[in-house]
Point group: C2
């Protein structure tokens, strides 16, 4: 039987990403494709860069979208800044810290690992001790917003430490960009990467990155070539860089960039501070509702990401059954636990366009229903009222 066109259903996406994509962005994806060297496309690229600078709160000239998902953005930061034999201190408080270690090792560099318990922010004192003990470290890398746990770390303090100990900072902001305060310049971040499918409400596939002048100087004075041709910033600069000359490097993902552009225009329309406040408001309402259902958060309130809510699965409730029921009965997706948290934790996303009142209401009532079907006792009405009071 021949394969026919794929028509996906409408889902409500409240997992760890992709988040709900705004209809304006879906519409933008289908606009007519033009050439990647077309003057009009080049103009759009300049606008994308300007909008990304706003989103990252930076004046970094090297601020652009890498033509691949966040994992490639991570790799872009590591392969450009590290050479064989270098040393990097990597903070691990969840899955994405361990992925950073993988990247360091594959660069032929040495990774000094600083562990913090999952669900906690990166331990600043332990990082300082590692910096003291490794004066030859070139890079300090950490995850701002751990998508596997929902904890936010003190990026400002960690970047200060990096500067103090003469290290370049690499910061994962995949889940933080657009959802919680992030100030690349004010905090002195040297290399930062993010994703489009979280708080920017865009489809996955693109990774915004930004490099400080200090980072650029390091990239330009490398002894060995960057091991990835595709991600070599020296070459990508020729296409995305200042000065108007757009040397062909690779063919940009035209329509995906239409989507990113539209999502960044929307972020600019709403305003960063308002976007951060909206995520906070929706989180507060969701948390009140979940607490009223008797559900507990993994992360202490102080370090909790509003956009990524990790909660303990109540005893006696079957993880997979609940998620399957949510998907089938409510067309609602929530996330499973990753790594050590598999089977123990749900991850409920309130990212970008998903961070709105109707999603909070749906999640509380649908989750309560799915748990009740397994004999779990809870008062849905009270939970909805608790949320509603804060919306």
């Amino acid at each position: 039987m021949p394969i026919t066109s794929f028509h996906p259903p409408h889902r409500t996406l409240m997992g760890p990403g992709p988040s709900d994509v705004h209809p304006r962005i879906l519409e933008a994806l289908g606009r007519p494709t033009i050439g990647h060297l077309d003057p009009l496309f080049v103009g759009m690229m300049d606008e994308c860069k300007a909008l990304l600078k706003y989103a990252f709160q930076t004046e970094n000239a090297l601020t652009l979208p890498v033509s691949a998902p966040g994992s490639a953005g991570m790799e872009a930061c590591f392969v450009n800044l590290l050479e064989r034999g270098d040393k990097a201190i990597v903070c691990v408080n969840g899955v994405f810290g361990t992925r950073m270690i993988e990247n360091v090792v594959r660069c032929g560099a040495e990774a000094i690992r600083v562990d913090t318990d999952w669900g906690k922010p990166v331990d600043v004192a332990a990082v300082e001790a590692a910096l003291k003990a490794n004066p030859d470290a070139k890079v300090l890398a950490f995850v701002h917003a751990e998508t596997s746990t929902g904890a936010v770390s003190d990026a400002e303090k960690l970047c200060q430490l990096a500067q103090q100990y003469d290290c370049l900072s690499i910061v994962d902001t995949v889940t933080s960009l657009g959802g919680v305060p992030l100030y690349v310049d004010k905090w002195g971040v040297d290399a930062v990467y993010s994703g489009t499918q979280k708080c920017l409400s865009c489809t996955p596939g693109i990774s915004p990155v930004s490099f400080s002048d200090k980072a650029i100087a390091v990239i330009k004075s490398r002894k060995q070539p960057v091991q990835s041709w595709f991600l070599d910033m020296n070459l990508i600069l020729g296409y995305w860089g200042e000065g108007g000359k757009r040397a062909y490097h690779h063919t940009a993902p035209i329509n995906a960039l239409y989507g990113l552009h539209e999502s960044l225009v929307m972020l600019q329309e709403e305003g960063l501070e308002h976007a951060w406040a909206r995520h906070r408001t929706m989180h507060n309402a969701l948390a009140a509702g979940l607490n009223a259902l008797g559900i507990e958060f993994v992360v202490d309130a102080e370090y909790r990401l509003p956009q990524l809510n990790s909660v303990w699965i109540p005893e006696g409730v079957d993880d997979a059954k609940v998620r399957a029921q949510l998907l089938e009965e409510f067309s609602l997706e929530i996330g499973a636990g990753l790594g050590d948290f598999a089977g123990k934790v749900w991850r409920i996303g309130l990212m970008g366009f998903s961070a709105r009142a109707e999603n909070v209401r749906l999640l509380i009532s649908a989750l309560a229903k799915a748990m009740q079907d397994q004999g779990y006792q809870c008062d849905v009405e009270a939970a909805l009222a608790a949320a509603e009071a804060l919306l």
Copy 2:
């Protein structure tokens, strides 16, 4: 002034890619985003793999779309098959062969370069001599359809030689897939990559790849880890592989894959042989028209890619002015020369949805007009008639 939504014009894309994107594919890009681990999405992934196997004419289990443009597909082949200290024979008859060399070197491997003049197919005898002289070579790499020149090489013969001399073959089919005959299994190709924005009529951003069992065995028995985490096939297999277990690796570019799926469904509907014949027919008509205008091809008819027509810019005609006029007056894009061909050659694409009669007619009349405006003498009516006779 705030930046507003970007609304691209409608262009006719007859450069070296992106080609015109079929409206069905543009529509598919804007379908609702669902999760990358959603059972329905996983079903679509399986269909994509089946359709790619058809397009590549292979039964290779490891056949999948890499979540990044063709350049990343190229890199995926090299970083997975090569280790530091390995040796690769690389055929260079245009820009993309030199890019392969860059990839080899960045893997810490040695590149043995076999040059052929630009515009000619890879010199088979020279390749055999290089294979004889380098019995320790692990890889033979070449470009099937050189996008910078428009020449097609004898991939079947070259892959045979690779087998005879116990090398793995890496073949660039970015511009050939869907446009000219390509038989991965019959020819014994070991690693192949392509792009979506050429004869598949899809938007850029994804790179279909396929690896033979022999290549997989080499990847699985590597001594050193693959230097790219993002492109490590050992890990990607966990998400895209057989057996139903879809381990999270990176977030797939959901909507871009909707587009690829739709384009592959359309290729299946048309049938590979019909698609190849259509490209040939349109090329013959275009060539007759261009010849009647007094324009000469760079590549001999025998080795000419129907989908990528490199022609010499007539003396006294200004390259940049003509391309600018075509874009402004006719919203028609053709390609400039790359590398050694810059300023001397135009590259006229007839790829995928661009390979249709109305495009052939438009190109002939618009190009004639732009050249005539610079004093070039030609008979447009005769050229159109010459093309029409073959349509």
